[in-house]
Amino acid sequence: MRTLTYVEAIREAHGQLLAADPRVFLVGQGLWSPWYAGGSLENLDREFGRERVLDTPISENAVTGMAVGAALAGMRPIVFHPRLDFLLLAMDPVINQAANWSYLFAGQASVPVVIRAVMNRGGEQGAQHSQALHAMFMHVPGLKTVMPATPADAKGLLLAAVEDPNPVLYIDDRWLYSQTGPVPEETYRTPIGEAAIRRTGRDVTIVGISWMAAQALKAAEMLAAEDIDAEVIDLRSLKPWDQARVLESARKTGRVIIADPGWRTAGASAEIAATVAAEAFHDLHAPVERVTLPDTPAPTSRAEEQAYYPRPEAIVEAAWKTLGRRVGAAA
């Protein structure tokens, strides 16, 4: 199979969607810029015309609401936000409107909109340009949230999201853009709500989300060198999330680590940890560990950034903890 980068896979999925379905259109900020969307939408405006690839004023609320309304009028819009932070200006259309709509009208209408927002952080951008806010959306009924970690899922989840009759928040991470992997040329769907087991193992389960799923694989390699056999689950969908697969693994290994790119308190990791701790209560040999951001805004300076974003080593240490080994006491 071909190998593509994560960003190429996103770009390809957009192109195939636009080519295949006249209901699909893109709207949001940066769509006509050569650099704004990090190459993920490169030249789509030239290929499909600026009517269907619509770069907009800085009006997050109205632009997102417009996408919601277009979806209600039969289109399949993808509304693009170059950063998750900007979505905070569009919470009304996303939450009050899109997420509630189907329920409010007892299923007579639904909102097939994809809200794509980029996790775009590091590089000393600071607290207002780094926020990983996925957990807020995970909390909201009526909204689905997906967070691909591989090129194949970056494509497959976008195709699935556009096909889904519900509002889906699609979050891609700039740090993954250069990651490579096999990506089928044809269209296919990564099922929303299904996690992927990236590595089977017996000793400890690592549930990774987005960028942290990639770090989990690195951690698993490091653990393997110490004869610790880690199972790595890439969650892929945050809402709904694949409880069955996670719980099965948790019951098998009895030791679970959640690796989440967001803040700790009341984050995605809390939900998964709480569920695992309750549902696999009798099978756990150790408390569930959470590897997350600390509960602080993002700093800028390099030293603080390096301490802020968890690395594979933090997952390795968490694994040692679940195994009752002293941290730092490597084999």
């Binding site: 209600l72 409010l104 007892a106």
Partner: protein
């Protein structure tokens, strides 16, 4: 108009008696606006509105039984008993949704207009909202987008001078809402919202412009609500002091004025309307209430 008036008086009664429990915002006194605007629309056009939307729903062809049943929380309600008075829908009639977040449906209406434009359809979207909605920034964002993309969108502002308990002068400096779109190059006009022909004429032109690709228009329709902000009581009853304008606005009753112009007594339709309302209400009353088991249904569509 008379049908809207009577229907809302019926809802007022249901609300007062406690039969209806959801919050009901009545547009009694403002009926010429929905009536005039919706008369200017074609079948494929769509309307969107807010918390005070019974009139829009009825003028656009929503069923009386569906409205009453919704207000009573029955499964036969237009929203399946999930919305109550503030959330109405009737996709077949082109009523794509009314919800109470102030200004919430204005960007949505723009989205529908964008859909029509992208598909090359000759359809128009209409956003109904109150004077208070202009205080939400999203409206100004939408005005710009609508002008920029020449959307087939008509903004209908029902300026009843009050937002809840606050007179317009407590919320802005100038009485100039028809100019709301000027900065963004959206054509604006002020009409007497209690004169149904005036509303109709202005709406017809705005809709024609939208349909022919000339972009959005903004109509300020000046009017007044007779009842309180929510429920059947008057403002006075709930302790809100208005400025004594009510008496003068009662004089401008849109229904009586239409009668005068038509030189006929609309009361001749009263009996018929009342019968229709009676039947619809009886049917609504006999509808089923949802049972608790369906609570988890329709969170997501399949």
């Amino acid at each position: 108009m008379l049908r809207i008036r009577r229907a809302e008086e019926t809802i007022a009664g249901m609300s007062e008696s406690g039969e209806a429990r959801c919050p009901c915002h009545l547009s009694i006194g403002q009926e010429a606006i929905p009536a005039g605007v919706c008369a200017a629309l074609n079948p494929g056009d769509t309307v969107w509105s807010g918390h005070r939307s019974h009139g829009h729903y009825l003028a656009r062809g929503g069923s009386l039984e569906g409205l009453f049943a919704e207000v009573l929380g029955k499964t036969t309600g237009c929203s399946g008993g999930r919305g109550g008075s503030m959330h109405l829908i009737a996709p077949e009639q082109g009523i794509l949704g009314t919800v109470p977040i102030v200004a919430g449906t204005i960007p949505l209406a723009a989205g529908a207009a964008l859909a029509y434009k992208l598909r090359g359809e000759q359809r128009v979207a209409v956003a109904f909202f109150g004077d208070g909605a202009l205080e939400e920034g999203s409206v100004h964002e939408t005005l710009n987008l609508a002008a920029l993309y020449k959307l087939p969108l008509v903004f209908i502002c029902e300026n009843n001078l009050y937002s809840s308990h606050l007179h317009w002068s407590e919320r802005r400096v100038a009485d100039n809402l028809h100019q709301a779109g000027a900065f963004h190059s959206v054509r604006g006009e002020r009409v007497d919202g209690n004169q149904v022909e005036d509303v109709y004429d202005a709406a017809r032109q705005a809709v024609a412009r939208a349909r022919s690709g000339d972009g959005p228009s903004f109509l300020e329709c000046r009017t007044f609500r007779w009842r309180g902000h929510v429920g059947a009581s008057s403002d006075q009853d709930v302790g809100v002091q208005r400025r004594g304008e009510l008496a003068q606005w009662l004089e401008r009753d849109p229904i009586r004025r239409a009668e005068e112009r038509l030189a006929m007594n609309l009361a001749v339709y009263s009996a018929e309307i009342d019968q229709e309302i009676g039947r619809a209400l009886a049917a609504a009353r006999s509808g089923r209430v949802p049972d608790a088991q369906r609570l988890a249904e329709h969170v997501c569509a399949r």
